[in-house]
Symmetry: C2
Subunit: 337 residues, 2 copies
Amino acid sequence: MTPVVPPVVAVARKLFDPVLREAVARLDPITARVTGYHFGWTEDSGGSAPAGGKALRPALVLLSARAAGGDAERCAPAAVAVELVHAFSLLHDDIMDGDRMRRHRPAAWTVFGPSEAILAGDALLALAGELLVERGAGGYLDAARSLSLAVRGLIAGQGMDLEFERRDDVGLDECLRMSARKTGDLLSCACSIGAMTAGGTAETVEALAAFGAEAGLAFQLADDLLGIWGSPEATGKPVRSDLRARKKSLPIVAALTSGGAAGERLARLLAQPEPLSEDDLWEAARLVDEAGGRAWAETEAKHRLDTAGRHLAHAGMPSDVREEFLDIARFITTRDH
Amino acid sequence: MTPVVPPVVAVARKLFDPVLREAVARLDPITARVTGYHFGWTEDSGGSAPAGGKALRPALVLLSARAAGGDAERCAPAAVAVELVHAFSLLHDDIMDGDRMRRHRPAAWTVFGPSEAILAGDALLALAGELLVERGAGGYLDAARSLSLAVRGLIAGQGMDLEFERRDDVGLDECLRMSARKTGDLLSCACSIGAMTAGGTAETVEALAAFGAEAGLAFQLADDLLGIWGSPEATGKPVRSDLRARKKSLPIVAALTSGGAAGERLARLLAQPEPLSEDDLWEAARLVDEAGGRAWAETEAKHRLDTAGRHLAHAGMPSDVREEFLDIARFITTRDH
C-alpha cells in the first residue's frame, strides 16, 4: 500500500509555491534557470518535469507557525527560506557525491554543468538569508539565526559524509552524528522556525526543535532504507543506489559493524576494487539484511519517532496541529519515495 | 617603483585577524582546514604559506565605520563577514574558472579536492551571514541586508562571466555591467557596511556605497591589466594568465570591440582551437595594446577613481578618514599585485 501524503503537504505547496517563485525571480537568468529546472518548473533540456520535491519542509514550517498561533502569511518567508536551503544542499551534494539522478530526472549539474549548479546553489543559500533579514527584527531575526546554525550543521554533516567515503572504519555512533547534522539540523529548524516567526515561547520552540531533530533522524533512516530497497519507479534513483555508490549509510554501517559473518562478507564485497555487478548489489543488499542492518534501521526509526512524539507532547499547541505533525512523522517512515 | 600598501590595511589585518580566526574556529574540521589553507594560516600539503590576501576589504569596512563615528570593535563582525564572502567567492570561482593558482600557491580545490572546496565556500558564505544576524537588530540587520544584496550581485556577475566564456560577441557595456556586479557590488558593500554598523546617516551610507562601486570598477580594471601584464612574481599567477584562459576581461573586450585591424587579429588568435603558445600569448598581449585595450582600461580606471572621489566628497567624514579612503583608491590602481 502506498502511504498517503498528509494533506498539509499539498496545502503548504499551494500556499508557498507563489512566494518561492517570486523569490527565485529575483535571481539572475542563469541561476534562476538552473533553479527552475531543479524545482521541476521547466522542462529544459533535462527531460519532462515531474511534480518537483515533496515540500515536506515548508509543511513543517507551516505547522510550526500554527503551533504558536501564527499563520501562513507570516511564516511564508521562513517556509521558503528553509526550502531554498534544502534545494541549495541538494544541488551541491549531487555534485560532490557524483549523483547523476534526482527526482526521476538528470541532476541539474549534469544538465547545466557543475559551475552553473555550484553558482545556483550559492544563489539559493544567499537568497534564503536575504528573505529573512529583509523582514526586520523580532521573530524573523530569530529565524535567520536559527537557519544559519542549521546551515552550519548540514555543512558539517556533509563534510563528515565526504570523509566517511574515504574511510573503511566508520562507526555507527559517528554515522548517527553525521545524519543528525546533515538531515536532523535542517528538519529541526523547519519544525521550530515557524513558531519563531509567530513569537512562540522558548519552551514551544525548543520542544518543536527537539521533535524535528528526532523526526529528522527517522527521516534519514527511512531514506537510507529506500537507498537500498526502494523501487526506482518510486524513488527516482537507480535501484540499490547507495550500495552502488558504496555510501556509508546508516543500515550499511550498522551491518558492517555488526560483528558477524554477514557483516564481514559485506565488508569484503564493498572493498573490491572493481565496480559492483548487479549480482554483487543483490548480494550486498541481502547481506545488509542478514547482518541485521535493515532491522536495526527500522527499529531505530520507530524509536526516534516515539522520542519525537514525546517531545511534541511537551510543546503546547492545538490538538489538530499536533495530529498533523504526527501524520507527517508517520509518513516520513512509511513512505516509498 | 612598488606602490606602498596603505597603513590602514595592516592595521585592519591586525585588528580583525583574531576575529576572523575565532569565527572560522566555529566550522567543522574539514571546512576549517580548507579555509585555513586558503587564508594562508597553514602550510598543509599545498606549499609554503604566504601572507594571505591583501585584506583590502576589511580596511575599507574599518574606514567606513570611522567615517560615521564608529570604531573597530563595533564594525568587526561586518569586516570579517565581508572578508568571508570574498573568500567564499574566490574558493568557488577558482573551481568554476578552472584556475589552479591563487596567491602563489595551488588553489584550495587542487589541494583538497573540488567537493571539499565547494563545501568550504558554502560554509564561509553561511558564516558571514551568521556573524551579522547573531548580533541583533539595528545597524547589524542593515549590514546583513546590504551584504546579502552584494552576494546576490556578485553571483549574478559570476553568472554573466560564465556565460561570456561561451560567447564570442561580448560587448564592452555588458562586460562593464558584469564587473560592476562581480567586483563592484562587494566593494560598494565594504565601503558602506561599516557606516551601517555605526548608525551612519542614509546620505553617508549612500555616498560611501557609490564611492565603493566606482572604486570597485577601478579595482577590476587594474586587476584585468595585471591579468595580462602583471609579473607572475607579484601576482602569484602565471604570466598573461587571462589571455591563456581566454577570459573576456575588460581590456581584452575593449580591444576585441575596437573595430580596428589589431582587434580583428586578436579575435582570430583567440578563436584558434589549439592551446595558445607562449609566442601567441606575447602576440595577443601586444594586440590588446595596439587595439587600444590597455589605454582604454587605464583611462577608464582613472575616470572611475575621479568619480569615486567626487562621491566621497559628498559623504561627511573626518578629513583623515577621507584621505585614507583615497590612499586605498590610489593604491588599487597603481598596485602590482
